[in-house]
């Protein structure tokens, strides 16, 4: 019975059985070791991912140097950088206010545009529907900065550049936002159409179906849309800097803080930047943690259905 040909390789099935036996003998021990390794890896990952932010917070309390600091642990701790941010010398208040206004208008305007587009493309069947979708897909393949100079000129003609950059930025970011309908449409598609039909048989108009049936059912994705469009302006940098064109009154936080890290200002403003980064991050993080559930739902849904 015994296999006397030792050179013969075990068949896959045999190998599998041997493996199973091995597992069976030390299953608990193996799992414990596996988990321990996993925890170590997870802790390492967490350290790597959190370290820069911890450094950022530490450096924002550095008061011994006047600006540049290359040490994680401050020589002397204090709130001077934060005090400077909100003093009259810095424009930080203004930038913060600008960004907040932009974010507020964008999250209302963009969400409305995207919902309208998504609902139409999800629920109506009209002759131009497919061509319209393909057309928007093709438009999306052009790089966004291509049109920067012309939008700048148009906004300049409208008096919305320099110190008045805020309304210009709001206008541009809301105007074309209908093209970002994909995630919301994907979610609308999963809501059964028989609901619409039932409501229409009961005598509801399409508008009533939209407002009274679809919107309440799709609350999670709408919160996701509001959340992402509120968060985006805090990091919007390129177009904002181009439109503000060197006028600090029209900056948002991203442009202002970026300028602080320019070669001429970095030696004075570096620790201010760190403090500014912390102040900008706090409201976004709080908002995010509150609405995390919706964000996760949107990210997952977008990937599967988009």
């Amino acid at each position: 019975m015994a296999d006397n040909n030792t050179n013969r390789k075990p068949t896959p099935m045999e190998a599998l059985e041997a493996e199973n036996q091995k597992n069976g003998m030390g299953l608990k021990a193996r799992r414990r070791i596996g988990n321990a390794v996993s925890y170590v890896v997870l802790i390492l990952i967490s350290i790597v991912w959190l370290a820069p932010f911890v450094f950022l917070i530490f450096q924002s309390f550095e008061v011994s140097s006047t600006g540049w600091s290359s040490r994680v642990w401050p020589k002397q701790w204090g709130f001077d950088n934060y005090v400077y941010l909100f003093s009259a010398n810095a424009n930080f208040n203004r930038w913060y206010f600008n960004t907040f206004i932009i974010a507020l208008f964008c999250c209302i305007g963009q969400t409305l545009m995207q919902i309208a587009m998504a609902y139409v493309l999800s629920r109506f069947r009209f002759k131009m529907r497919k061509p319209l979708m393909n057309f928007m897909l093709i438009l999306g393949m052009f790089p966004g900065f291509l049109t920067m100079i012309i939008l700048y000129t148009v906004l300049k003609d409208l008096g919305m550049t320099g110190a008045n950059a805020v309304p210009g930025l709001i206008l541009v970011s809301i105007a074309s936002s209908g093209m970002g309908y994909y995630v919301i449409k994907g979610f609308f598609d999963t809501v059964s159409k028989s609901l619409d039909e039932a409501a229409m048989i009961d005598g509801a108009t399409r508008a009533q179906v939209f407002i009274k049936v679809i919107l309440p059912l799709t609350k999670p994705i709408i919160i996701y849309a509001i959340l992402t469009s509120f968060m985006a302006p805090w990091g919007d940098f390129i177009f904002a800097s181009y439109i503000a064109f060197g006028n600090p009154n029209g900056y948002n936080v991203a442009v202002g803080l970026y300028e602080w890290l320019g070669t001429e200002q970095i030696s004075y403003h570096y620790t201010h930047f760190c403090a500014g980064g912390v102040v900008v991050s706090i409201p976004v993080i709080v908002l995010f943690l509150m609405l995390q559930r919706y964000y996760v739902e949107g990210v997952t849904g977008g990937a599967v259905k988009g």
Binding site: I45, I138, L146, M179, Y242
Partner: protein, 502 residues
Amino acid sequence: MAKNVSAIEMLGLNRFQRFGYNFLNFFRLLPGRIANLFVKIGLFFKNLGIKTGEYFRNLVVGFKEGTWQTRLTYLVMGFSNFTHKQIARGILFAGFEVAFIIYMILVGGKNLSMLGSLGVVARQIDDFGVVTYVDNSFRILLYGVLTLFFIAALVYTWSLSVKQAITNQKLDEENKKIKTDKDDLHALVDRDFYKTLLALPAIGILVFTVIPIVFMILVSFTNFDKDHNPPINLFSWVGGSNYGELFNFTAGGASFSATFGEILLWTLIWAFFATFSNYFLGMLVALLINKKGIKLKKVWRTILVLTVTIPQFISLLYVSKMFGENGIVNQTLIDWGWITINNKIYFWKDPNLAKVTVILINIWIGVPYLMLMVTGILMNIPADLYESAKIDGASPVQQYFKITLPYMLFVTGPYLLTSFTGNINNFNVIYLLSGGGPSDINLFKAAGKTNLLITWLYTTTVSDNNYALAAVIGVMVFIVVALISLIVYNLLPSNRNEEDLA
């Protein structure tokens, strides 16, 4: 391999053979498809010609057989609507016509007539040295394009108005009821609700995306740069010479074409590594967190996701300075005695090191997002698949390669494509980390070594003010993205019908 394989044979192939087959097949069928495309385009124009002919013949017939109200509508848009108590429609039609006439007299006519030359005299200086600006090529091109769009819109609304007049007349003759304003209003919240909803987004996209893109495509055929910059100077049409420069392969050295080739290559390499490193590492982290027996899942997840929440300009700029010459990393290594002060690591000055660094830091930025997404999908994989696999004795590794990975690839195929094209245009990571540098004098205008096409476009616009070449780069980015999308989309297994989802 590239022969027609029957469906049964296809099932016998493994995944890679199938991919290879699809891949080769795509190129084998490509000439036929392109020929087909041209035939289709030809047919389209033939049909279009026939249809327009018919359309206008109908309009002529309508005029011949029309009552005086209908005939007057050919001149005064919306007149028939007024006489049939469709006041709202009438006001819209007539109002548009009046607006068009005023626009043409004030702006349109002048700019349209100069569209061919883009202006003759840029500025005049009188005897007292006072400068008056005359023609502005930029404005002429902009308002010229705008006027063309306006004319197209007028032709469309005019034919609409005439068609309605003919319909109204017919309904009159048959003694049928004509739609009133009230009917129209009701339709706008019911049957035609999509028109109401689409109006604002469509106008926004037309004005702020379509017209600017058409304008910039036209700019790529001009010599608009800092020596031809309105209002000081004029710029003019140069035909395809910008594109000629791009495909001038003999130029070599620091030419535009050689630089474009190098930056395009790095853009594709970057997009490949950025996409797949994030994808697989993100999946790994997700599997690790969701492993059975791991506690505090939510805590691990939240720690990672924090990086996504913090605005990129803060995290990326900070990390960029961390790795700088005098940054925390170098300083710490000096403090630990690993390197000396004369022997610092120049993360952003060595081109190859800079390239590796941006890819690694991009992992730091992108993995949490992927982890979130993958976690959601993992939970959707039917659990009985794993159970039956376990009963059959599959090891965790086998389960991963036979169940998890195929399922993930199938579901996230479209995402991988958009993520790849998104990385081609990933401005933030490159610009905020390396700024495109280190710059290389052997490249066109000393372009930076880590530039992507998109950051190169940006610096060409902002620093060099070479708008024409920037437009050429933009158009090329579009062509690259469109080509990749077309090829990959044909290879994806998950080209699903959207109607199946509901």
